[in-house]
C-alpha cells in the first residue's frame, strides 16, 4: 500500500459545487459519506447530498477510475484509493482506516492507497459527528434516531474534518470505512453476477477478484468497477465476523515511514514557492496585550529584511530567509501593553483556585449518594490531599509554519493542521474573505498533540492578515520561543480530594473538588464503585487559552484520582493493586486490565533494594489503560524509570504495531510531563522560552522498553492515540512514594525534588 498525503486538488471545482440534477431520482439508497439516503420522501435532502457527491467526484475522479461516493475509488488497474478525512501525523491513522475498508472489501492490500481527502466540505466526516454527538451528549439513542442525512448536513454545516479525540478509527473507521468497504464489495459481487450470469451466492470475493469456482471464471475489481459504481449501495451490509478479519488486527507497516527516514517527507515548514519570503513573529508577551509601538528602523537595517508588519497584538518581520527575519525581529524593541494581566502569575493562579474552592459554589457537580453523611458518620476515617498540576506546552517538534499566497482574490494556504476545513473557515474570517476563497493545502505535520486545531491556532489569523497585504508568497515560521510562550496549554489545575474509609477498609465516600476551565466529567469519569461520590468542578480561567493537550482533561483528573487511590490504600494498610481491585466491579473489563498488568509486571515479585513499582488505571476516550512503572531512586534524589508496562483494552486493535507505538509514546509523554515540564507565569507572561528551560524527557531517562499488551475484549472501539498518557504520571508518583516515602502532590516532580 502507498500513502499519499498530498491530495489531488482541483482548485476551481473545489469551490463550485455542481448543479444538482433534478430528474431521474429513483427510490434507491445511496451512501454519502457513510450516510444512507433514500429518495422519494427525502427529496430535498437527496438533492443536497447529491451535489456533495458530484463535488467529491469532481475533486477525485480521474480517467479510468470510478468513485464510490466520497470515500473511495477503484481504478481499472485494481488500485483502490481510500480517502481519509483525518490527518495522519504519525499515529498510523491512514494505514488503520485503509485496513478497515480493505478488509471488508476483500481487497488486495498491495493495491490499496490511502490519500488525504481534499479540504472540501464534500469530505466532511459524517461518522465523526455521529460518534462525538453520541459520546458527548451521553444519549446515543437520540443521536442514532436522527436521520443519517440530517447528521450529514450537520457535519457539513459544522465543517468537521477533524483529527483528534482519538476519533479516527473508532468513529470514521467503524461507522464509515468498514460499512463502505462491505457495501462496495456487495456491489462488485452483484455486477459480477450480472456479467457472469450466475447467482451472487455462488461467487467468492478475495484479493480484489470475484471468482466463480464452479466454472473457474473470475473478474478483477478493476474490470468490475465501472459497472459496480453505477449500482446502489446498501447502507447496512453485513460486516465481517472478527474471526474472519484478514487485515484488521494485522501489524502492517506504515506507508509513510520510508519518506521519514531519508529526509524526503515534506512538512509544512519545508514547503517553498518561487519568490517566497520568510517571516517570523513576536506577539505580546502577556496574552491579551496589544502592540503599542515599534520603531522599524533597527530591523530594516539588517541585510535581507524587507518589511516590518504590525498586527494588533504582534509584530512580524518579513525577509529573504528565516535567519534574516529572526535577526530583524531580535533587533526590534516593540512595546506591548499587558492587557491588564500584569498580576497574573503561577502562584496567583493557585491562590485564586484555592480561594475559589473554599468560598465559591461549584459550577458542576457529578456523582451520587450522601457524601456529607458518610463524612460525618462515626468510625469513618477521613483522608485528604491536595494536588496541583501546571500548564503544559505541547512541544510538537515542528514549530508552526504556514505559507500563504493571496492571488486573484484567493488565499492559498499550505500547512499542517488537525482540521483543514476549520482552517479555511478561520483564515477566511481573519482575512475578511468568503470561505470559498480560501484554499487549504494540508501538509504533513511534525506532531500535533492537540495544538493544531484551528480553534486554538492564531497563526491562521496571522498568516491570513500577512499574506493578504503582500504581493508574493510568504511562509510564516514561529520560533521555538514563540511556540513555548504563546501556547494554548493544558490548563494549570488543582484539586482537593477527600474520602472516608469505612470499618471494612473500603471507601465509604469520595469527594473531589477540582478547579480549572473545563468541566471534565464527560471525558474523565469515575471508575470505582463507591457508595457516595461528589465530583465538583469549580470554574476558573486565567489570561491563557486552555487548549486540548493529548488526552485533554484525563491527564490531570487521572493524576488526582490515581494518586489519591494510592494514598487511600496506604491509609487502609493495603496493597495498591488489591485496593483498586476491590473497588472495581467484579468481572469487569477494568479488573481484567488491572490483573493483566499486575501479572505482566510480576507485581508481587521481590525487587532489588531501592527499586519500587507504582500502578495506575485510567479510562479515557473509551479505552481502559493500566500502567505499572518500576523506579529506582538515584543518589541525587531523582527517580530513574527502569521498566514500564501498559495493558490496554480498546475493544479491538486494528493495527497492533501502530497501537503499541501510540501507547508507548503516550506513556513516555506522560512521564516527561510528570518529571520536568511546566509553563509558569510571572507578571502575566510565560517565563520559559525553549527546551533549555522546558525540558522534555530524553532517551536515557525513558524506559528502555515499554511492554504493551492489548486485550481484545470486542467491546465498543476506543481510541489509541491519547489513552496511554494519563496513567503514566500517577504510576510514577506512586512508585516514587513507594521507593522514597515522598508523596508527590504537585507536578512536575523535579521541581519538588530540587526544591
Amino acid at each position: 500500500m502507498a500513502d499519499n498525503p498530498t491530495p489531488h486538488l482541483a482548485e476551481d471545482t473545489a469551490n463550485t459545487p455542481a448543479k444538482p440534477k433534478r430528474k431521474g431520482v429513483k427510490r434507491r439508497a445511496f451512501l454519502v459519506g457513510g450516510a444512507l439516503l433514500v429518495g422519494g420522501g427525502a427529496f430535498g435532502l437527496y438533492l443536497a447530498e447529491n451535489s456533495t457527491r458530484s463535488r467529491a467526484k469532481a475533486l477525485t475522479e480521474t480517467d479510468g477510475a470510478h468513485n464510490f461516493l466520497t470515500w473511495m475509488k477503484i481504478a481499472e488497474d485494481d488500485t483502490v484509493t481510500v480517502y481519509s478525512p483525518h490527518i495522519d501525523f504519525g499515529q498510523g491513522t491512514h494505514t488503520a482506516l485503509g485496513q478497515m475498508l480493505a478488509d471488508e472489501l476483500d481487497a488486495d492490500w498491495a493495491k490499496v492507497v490511502v490519500e488525504q481527502a481534499p479540504a472540501d466540505s464534500a469530505f466532511a466526516n459524517t461518522a465523526l459527528v455521529k460518534g462525538f454527538m453520541a459520546e458527548l451528549s451521553g444519549m446515543p439513542g437520540v443521536v442514532n434516531a436522527l436521520p443519517a442525512a440530517v447528521i450529514g448536513m450537520l457535519t457539513r454545516s459544522q465543517n468537521l474534518q477533524i483529527t483528534g479525540g482519538s476519533s479516527a478509527v473508532r468513529f470514521t473507521g467503524q461507522a464509515g470505512m468498514r460499512v463502505v468497504g462491505a457495501a462496495v464489495r456487495l456491489a462488485l459481487i452483484e455486477e459480477a453476477a450480472a456479467r457472469m450470469k450466475v447467482p451472487a451466492s455462488e461467487l467468492v470475493a478475495a484479493n480484489s477478484t470475484i471468482s466463480h469456482p464452479a466454472t473457474n471464471r473470475s473478474l478483477r475489481y478493476g474490470e468490475l468497477a465501472q459497472g459496480a459504481a453505477k449500482r446502489s449501495l446498501t447502507s447496512s451490509p453485513k460486516l465481517k465476523d472478527p474471526k474472519d478479519f484478514k487485515l484488521i488486527g494485522a501489524g502492517l507497516p506504515r506507508a509513510d515511514i520510508p519518506s521519514k527516514v531519508d529526509g524526503s517527507a515534506i512538512y509544512g515548514i519545508d514547503f517553498a514557492l518561487p519568490d517566497m519570503r520568510v517571516a517570523t513573529i513576536a506577539a505580546a508577551p502577556v496574552r491579551g496585550g496589544k502592540l503599542v509601538s515599534v520603531d522599524e528602523a533597527p530591523a530594516m537595517a539588517i541585510k535581507g529584511v524587507e518589511q516590518v508588519v504590525k498586527l494588533d497584538d504582534a509584530v512580524i518581520v518579513v525577509a529573504k530567509g528565516y535567519w534574516q527575519a529572526a535577526k530583524g525581529l531580535a533587533a526590534l524593541s516593540p512595546e506591548f501593553s499587558d492587557g491588564g494581566h500584569a498580576g497574573m502569575s503561577t502562584a496567583a493562579i493557585y491562590a485564586a483556585q484555592d480561594e475559589l474552592r473554599t468560598s465559591a459554589k461549584p459550577s458542576n457537580t457529578a456523582g451520587s449518594g450522601d457524601v456529607d453523611a458518610a463524612f460525618k458518620a462515626a468510625g469513618n476515617k477521613l483522608i485528604t490531599a491536595n494536588y496541583r498540576v501546571p500548564f503544559l506546552h505541547h512541544a510538537m517538534m515542528e514549530p508552526f509554519a504556514i505559507t500563504g499566497h493571496f492571488k486573484d482574490g484567493k488565499l492559498h494556504l499550505w500547512g499542517g493542521l488537525q482540521d483543514p476545513l476549520g482552517a479555511r473557515d478561520r483564515a477566511a474570517k481573519a482575512a475578511g474573505l468568503k470561505m470559498d476563497d480560501v484554499v487549504f493545502h494540508p501538509m504533513i505535520m511534525g506532531g500535533g498533540f492537540g495544538r493544531r486545531f484551528p480553534g486554538v491556532t492564531e497563526i491562521l489569523d496571522q498568516i491570513a492578515l500577512l499574506a493578504k497585504q503582500l504581493p508574493f508568497p510568504v511562509k510564516l515560521i514561529w520560533s521555538r520561543e514563540e511556540e513555548v510562550r504563546h501556547g494554548t496549554y493544558r490548563p494549570q489545575s488543582s484539586a482537593a480530594l477527600s474520602a472516608v474509609l469505612g470499618a471494612d477498609g473500603k471507601i465509604a465516600a469520595w469527594r473531589s473538588d477540582y478547579v480549572q476551565g473545563d468541566n471534565a466529567e464527560a471525558e474523565a469519569g469515575f471508575i470505582y464503585d463507591v457508595p457516595a461520590t461528589s465530583r465538583r468542578h469549580f470554574e476558573y480561567t486565567s489570561n491563557q487559552i486552555d487548549g486540548p493537550w493529548r488526552s485533554v482533561n484525563s491527564t490531570q483528573i487521572g493524576f488526582y484520582n490515581e494518586s489519591f487511590m494510592d494514598e487511600l490504600a496506604a491509609a487502609a494498610g493495603e496493597d495498591p493493586y488489591r485496593f483498586r481491585r476491590k473497588h472495581l466491579p467484579a468481572g469487569s473489563r477494568y479488573v481484567a486490565v488491572l490483573d493483566e498488568v499486575a501479572a505482566r509486571a510480576a507485581w508481587d515479585s521481590a525487587l532489588p533494594d531501592g527499586h519500587r513499582r507504582g500502578i495506575a488505571i485510567v479510562e479515557s476516550f473509551g479505552t481502559i489503560v493500566a500502567e505499572v512503572v518500576e523506579v529506582m531512586m538515584l543518589p541525587d534524589g531523582r527517580p530513574k524509570v527502569l521498566k514500564a508496562f501498559a495493558v490496554v483494552d480498546c475493544g479491538t486493535v486494528v493495527n497492533p504495531l501502530n497501537a503499541e507505538a501510540q501507547i508507548a509514546g503516550g506513556l513516555i509523554m506522560g512521564l516527561s510531563a510528570a518529571m520536568g515540564e511546566a509553563i509558569t507565569l510571572e507578571k502575566g507572561a510565560v517565563v520559559e522560552s525553549n527546551f533549555t528551560d522546558y525540558p522534555l524527557i530524553t532517551l536515557a531517562d525513558a524506559p528502555a522498553e515499554v511492554d504493551v499488551h492489548f486485550i481484545n475484549s470486542g467491546a465498543k472501539m476506543g481510541g489509541i492515540g491519547e489513552p496511554g498518557v494519563p496513567p503514566a504520571s500517577p504510576a510514577l508518583a506512586n512508585a516514587i512514594a513507594a521507593a522514597s516515602g515522598k508523596r508527590i502532590r504537585t507536578l512536575p516532580i523535579m521541581a519538588q525534588i530540587t526544591a
Binding site: Y322, R480, L696, T698
Partner: protein, 166 residues
C-alpha cells in the same frame, strides 16, 4: 560573501552572511529540507548533520565555519545506487518514526555513534542519543540501533495480543 564547501559529496558555493547558521543555508539556499529546525539553540538535535564526519547541530554553527569542509545531511546517507544506509533500513524495520520530524536528526546521531564506536552498548546509546523526540519513539530508536549493529534485540514487535486476538 561566497562560502564554498561540499554537501553530500557535491561542491557548493553559497552567497550568505557569515553568521547565518548552516541549518538555514541547507534548508533555504540548498533546498535540503530533510534537516529540521526544532529549537535554534542546540537543545533538540533536529538539525543534526555531519561535518567532516562529526555530529554537529547545524542551527548553532555559522556557515563561515564550514568553508572548505565536507557536510553530510540525511539526504546523503544512502549510497550512490540509492541503497539506504543500514541504520535507515533498521529504522524502517523497527517502524521507528511517528510524526517523523525528529528522525533525520536521530538517524544522523545514530550513524555518527556507530561510526565512532562500532557496536554501541546501552550506556553508550544513552550517552550519545540526546536528541529529543516528542512522540516518544525512544524504545524503538534503541532497538533499531542495536539491530543495525547486529546485536540481539527484543522480538520484532513488543506488542502482544490477548485472548480473542484477531
Amino acid at each position: 560573501m561566497a562560502i564554498s564547501f561540499t554537501v553530500n559529496d557535491t561542491p557548493v558555493s553559497v552567497e550568505a552572511e557569515g553568521d547565518t547558521p548552516l541549518l538555514w543555508v541547507l534548508r533555504e539556499d540548498l533546498a535540503l529540507t530533510g534537516t529540521k529546525f526544532g529549537c535554534g539553540v542546540a537543545a533538540c538535535g533536529a538539525c543534526s548533520v555531519h561535518v567532516d564526519g562529526k555530529l554537529v547541530r547545524s542551527c548553532s554553527l555559522p556557515v563561515s565555519d564550514v568553508a572548505g569542509r565536507a557536510i553530510t545531511t540525511i539526504e546523503g546517507l544512502k549510497s550512490a545506487d540509492g541503497t539506504l544506509h543500514a541504520v535507515q533500513q533498521a529504522w524502517i524495520a523497527a517502524q521507528v518514526p511517528q510524526c517523523g520530524y525528529c528522525q533525520s536528526g536521530q538517524i544522523m546521531a545514530a550513524t555518527a555513534l556507530i561510526k565512532a564506536v562500532g557496536r554501541p552498548n546501552e550506556a553508550q546509546i544513552d550517552a550519545a542519543m540526546t536528541n529529543l523526540c516528542r512522540c516518544g519513539t525512544y524504545p524503538r530508536i534503541r532497538k533499531a540501533i542495536l539491530a543495525a549493529t547486529g546485536q540481539a534485540v527484543y522480538a520484532a514487535a513488543s506488542a502482544t495480543m490477548g485472548e480473542g486476538a484477531a
